[in-house]
């Protein structure tokens, strides 16, 4: 029993850390350049404004949850297979790099249509 509780405690700790690291990074990016941060984070301007205005105490409070506050921004096979280059074993390293760009283009396009 106690070992389960201990490992759970560690898991919660790691979730808190990931949440906090994400929020701090997001806040940093938004303050540095909001327009570019919207692209990098894939969040709406409203959400970005809220994150921007959070106090350190609020950040801690939001981070301390048993859920991760960030999640994958793509959920289709297409992007996954492009990112992992499972689709076609291309002959050269340039093939892999091009597959990376392909994923970038598809993701950027999806972002833009969500924002529309």
């Amino acid at each position: 029993m106690s070992t389960i509780a201990a490992s759970n405690e560690q898991l919660l700790q790691e979730i808190r850390e990931a949440n906090l690291a994400y929020l701090v990074l997001a806040q940093h990016m938004i303050r540095a350049d909001k327009a570019q941060a919207l692209y990098r984070l894939g969040v709406s301007e409203e959400v970005a404004t809220i994150i921007d205005q959070l106090s350190p105490a609020q950040l801690m409070k939001i981070a301390g949850s048993n859920q991760l506050i960030l999640r994958f921004r793509f959920d289709d096979d297409m992007v996954w297979s492009l990112l992992t280059s499972h689709s076609k074993p291309k002959s050269s390293a340039t093939g892999a790099a091009v597959a990376g760009l392909h994923a970038n283009i598809v993701m950027a396009g999806q972002l833009a249509s969500l924002a529309a």
Partner: protein, 182 residues
């Protein structure tokens, strides 16, 4: 043209410096700022330490349609459209920010940027003029740069179906990058 406000002038100089640092040609600066040609020339020499390249800008839309440039152009334009939709930016600031994101992404992949900032600017102008647009690929749903009036119903992008000789001239393309960037 006379500039009334000092604040606006300083903003324009900042913008011009950002563009020069990214490698923009003088024609871009002339079109996007109200600063005089002489001042831009001085600014250019001060920032780059050399005189700007002379000659006309590339003016054809065809370059954007060839295989590798099309991939780079599409990446940039997708980023630009995203910034344009989500933030209220002046067009030139959107171009600068999107171009910075493009450079980051290309370098992260270990590639050489094929698209110069001058060409990126040109591309946005072509879109404004309705000459080129983004079309969704029927296979991957990614959006790619195409001519506006092309038949686009069953459009398949150059990445889903690369042309037969795609990437074969790669070595040449990569070494001539410095010639392309102007």
């Amino acid at each position: 043209m006379r500039i009334k406000s000092i604040v606006s002038e300083s903003k324009q100089i900042q913008r011009a410096i950002a563009l020069i640092k990214l490698g923009a040609r003088l024609q871009v600066l002339e079109s996007e700022t109200d600063l005089s040609y002489e001042r831009l020339l001085r600014l250019y020499k001060e920032v780059q330490g050399e005189s700007p390249a002379r000659g006309m800008l590339p003016f054809s839309t065809d370059w954007f349609m060839t295989w590798q440039p099309n991939i780079h152009s599409s990446l940039f334009l997708n980023m630009y459209e995203y910034l344009d939709k989500t933030s209220e930016l002046e067009e030139i600031d959107g171009i600068i920010k999107a171009y910075e994101l493009y450079l980051e992404q290309i370098r992260a992949q270990g590639l050489e940027p094929l698209l110069s900032v001058t060409r990126a600017w040109r591309l946005v102008k072509f879109v404004d003029a309705g000459m080129v647009t983004l079309t969704s690929c029927s296979k991957c749903n990614g959006k790619f740069v195409t001519h506006t009036y092309e038949l686009t119903k069953n459009y398949v992008c150059g990445l889903c179906e690369p042309p037969a000789r795609a990437g074969k001239g790669k070595a040449q393309v990569q070494t001539s990058v410095s010639a392309v960037v102007h």
